[in-house]
């Protein structure tokens, strides 16, 4: 298995990984005088699960925000599906097919689970304002078609029993699952997960891991995730980027990364003499 080949590779479990979808070239991101990301390059390939790890404050979330278009890097190029992405508004990036979840859940608390997931499909709903006002023609047809799609995702993530519950009333683990559902509803080509397992117990982590693998397997969705639980990261991901103080210190399969001396130093600390 040569994960550094240019036209894709086959994973240990036999999945075929395709060409590069997202290519980040020499990204540098500054906040005033602070360099959050220093000259980092890596790519994400079609159909793979790509993890970004690193100690606290390494710049992982900033990296995810660069990918999702929320931050515009001062230097470097972001290439998505073969096109260079200029500065874009976040909602324009969403339309390109990039969806994400957040570290601290960003659901719409006042809306039901169903409505939350339906918002994930907003970009596919094109009916005009007038048609919506009289609920005739396009508006109703579109609502029913998209509802059917949303129900598939509800089925897939096993949240049928809570579909009409206001999100604010749900426990944490389920909220995370609803957020994943909302991101999936957009049928993204690239799914970004910011600490999908933060604050979960073992059982919830197992569920979430299964869902992430299932999503990748069933829909072929390319996934980039940030996670602190090393066990989870090493089991789930095909390739791992390791960041420390805004620099990239490792990139490769979980095994390669695990045996990288610089990575070990970053995580365990190193004696300064």
């Amino acid at each position: 298995m040569n994960v550094h080949a240019s036209d894709g590779y086959t994973t240990a479990d036999g999945r075929q990984i395709g060409p590069v979808v997202m290519d980040l070239k020499n990204i540098t991101l500054r906040f005033g005088g602070v360099e959050a990301i220093k000259n980092i390059s890596f790519d994400i390939r079609q159909g793979e699960i790509r993890a970004i790890i690193g100690p606290n404050g390494a710049g992982k979330s900033s990296m995810l925000n660069v990918i999702s278009g929320f931050y515009v890097p001062q230097e470097g190029e972001v290439w998505f599906k073969g096109y260079r992405r200029g500065p874009m508004k976040p909602y324009e990036v969403a339309r390109l097919g990039i969806a994400r979840t957040f570290q601290n859940i960003a659901l719409f608390d006042g809306m039901s689970v169903l409505d939350n997931i339906m918002t994930g499909r907003l970009n596919r709903m094109k009916s005009g304002f007038l048609s919506q006002a009289i609920w005739w023609g396009a508006a109703e047809r579109e609502e029913i078609e998209n509802r059917a799609q949303v129900e598939k995702i509800i089925d897939f993530l096993e949240i049928q029993n809570i579909r009409k519950t206001p999100v604010g009333r749900l426990p944490y683990g389920l909220k995370k699952r609803v957020e994943l559902a909302r991101a999936l509803a957009a049928e993204p080509q690239l799914l970004l997960l910011d600490e999908p397992m933060a604050g979960m117990n073992v059982e919830e982590k197992e569920d979430m891991s299964r869902f992430i693998l299932d999503v990748n397997d069933e829909f072929g969705t390319t996934i980039a995730l940030i996670e602190h639980d090393m066990g989870v990261v090493m089991d789930l991901s095909d390739r791992v980027v390791v960041m420390d103080y805004g620099r990239k210190i490792g990139d490769g399969t979980p095994d390669e990364v695990r045996s990288n001396q610089e990575v070990i130093d970053a995580y365990l600390g190193v004696a300064h003499d």
Partner: protein
């Protein structure tokens, strides 16, 4: 026991998405509709029309409008009075300039003009939120009232500075002007309420409503999901102002007949409508009606009680009435901060289990 969804199976997404999913609710709504359309017009007299029904219906439209903006889209507005004034002056100018065109079209156009003005004053919402936006809309309130006072063109250079609604008819019945009968006033307002409430429901249950609520609940997440904040906020301002403009047009032409802008559309009106949606329930169509009913009916009820039943002098009753209304507002908000709509929803939850406790 009777009020529950058990046994009422939905076999399609259309049926599942309907406004009243529980059978008893549906029947209640149909009966209410039948009474409002078929019974009330034959019983109504001038007192009931002017004191209760017509103001209730008109304020219900205004409350629906503000609820779209504040309750659904989360943009606080204190400019409702000003936007009602835009509707009123627009319909006045249209009525006097094109006397041959139906008043219904004039009222709708007045709503459209208000929508444009509302969008204009909604532009600051793209940069500022919360209390700061409230202050910006307050500026709209004062500016608009000042404008209609200062520019004589708006009141057709009349000596008194007032605008007076000329007589206009719908299907041969006068709906504006001094000769208007009580049923005619009631029916024209009812027609607008029924259509607009339906439109409000449609807008809020579909794509637009979800965009508005997403912006309200978490604007950054909404944007990353693909909601364009510019169009979402401005469409909320436009839809809201359309409703408020129509309410203003009806208030002036059908209810008041003559109006002076500072008096009829002052800051008091903005607060009145805001209280309605807070007491009724933010983000709820039913709440808009409940709040309008509360704020319109309560003073009438108290007046009847204090002056009619207890025989107090009118001036004393008027002051006490203000105090009681104020105290009741506070009381209601302490008992249920989410308004009458939430109270109603809780009652329905209880009813589903009744007579069993669990």
């Amino acid at each position: 026991m009777l009020y529950r969804e058990a046994g009422d199976f939905k076999t399609g997404y259309r049926a599942d998405g309907q406004t009243f999913p529980i059978r008893l609710d549906r029947w209640g709504y149909y009966i209410l509709l039948a009474v409002a359309v078929l019974v009330v017009p034959f019983l109504i007299n001038d007192y009931w029309a002017n004191a209760v029904f017509v103001p209730f219906l008109i304020y219900a439209i205004a409350a629906l409008g503000l609820n779209i903006l504040t309750g659904y889209a989360g943009q606080v507005s204190l400019g409702t009075g000003g936007f009602m004034a835009v509707g009123a002056y627009a319909v006045y100018k249209l009525m006097t300039a094109f006397p041959d065109i139906s008043i219904v079209i004039h009222i709708l156009l007045a709503g459209g003009i208000t929508a444009i003005v509302g969008m204009l004053f909604g532009l600051p919402s793209l940069r500022i939120k919360g209390f700061y936006l409230a202050v910006a809309t307050l500026a709209a309130q004062f500016f608009l009232v000042w404008l209609f006072n200062k520019v004589p063109w708006f009141y057709n250079y009349s000596a008194s500075g007032q605008i007076t609604a000329p007589t206009r008819t719908v299907l041969g019945h006068a709906v504006t002007g001094p000769a208007t009968s009580a049923p005619a006033k009631y029916l024209i307002c009812l027609a607008f309420v029924l259509v607009l409430a339906w439109v409000a429901r449609n807008l809020t249950r579909g794509t637009s409503g979800r965009k508005w609520m997403a912006i309200r609940d978490m604007d950054i997440a909404a944007e990353i999901i693909g909601v364009n904040p510019l169009t979402a906020k401005l469409s909320a301002f436009a839809a809201s102002s359309f409703f408020v403009g129509i309410a203003g047009a009806l208030l002036f032409s059908v209810y008041l007949g003559a109006a002076e802008v500072g008096e009829a559309f002052g800051i008091n009106k903005s607060f009145l409508v805001l209280f309605m949606i807070i007491i009724g329930g933010l983000g709820s169509i039913f709440g808009s009606f409940a709040g309008a009913a509360f704020m319109v009916l309560l003073p009438v009820l108290l007046k009847n009680l204090l002056v009619g039943q207890l025989g107090w002098p009118t001036d004393l009753a008027a002051h006490i009435e203000l105090m009681i209304v104020g105290a009741l507002i506070v009381l209601f908000l302490i008992v249920e901060p989410h308004g009458l709509a939430r109270l109603w929803a809780l009652t329905k939850e209880k009813l589903r289990l009744w007579p069993f406790p669990h």
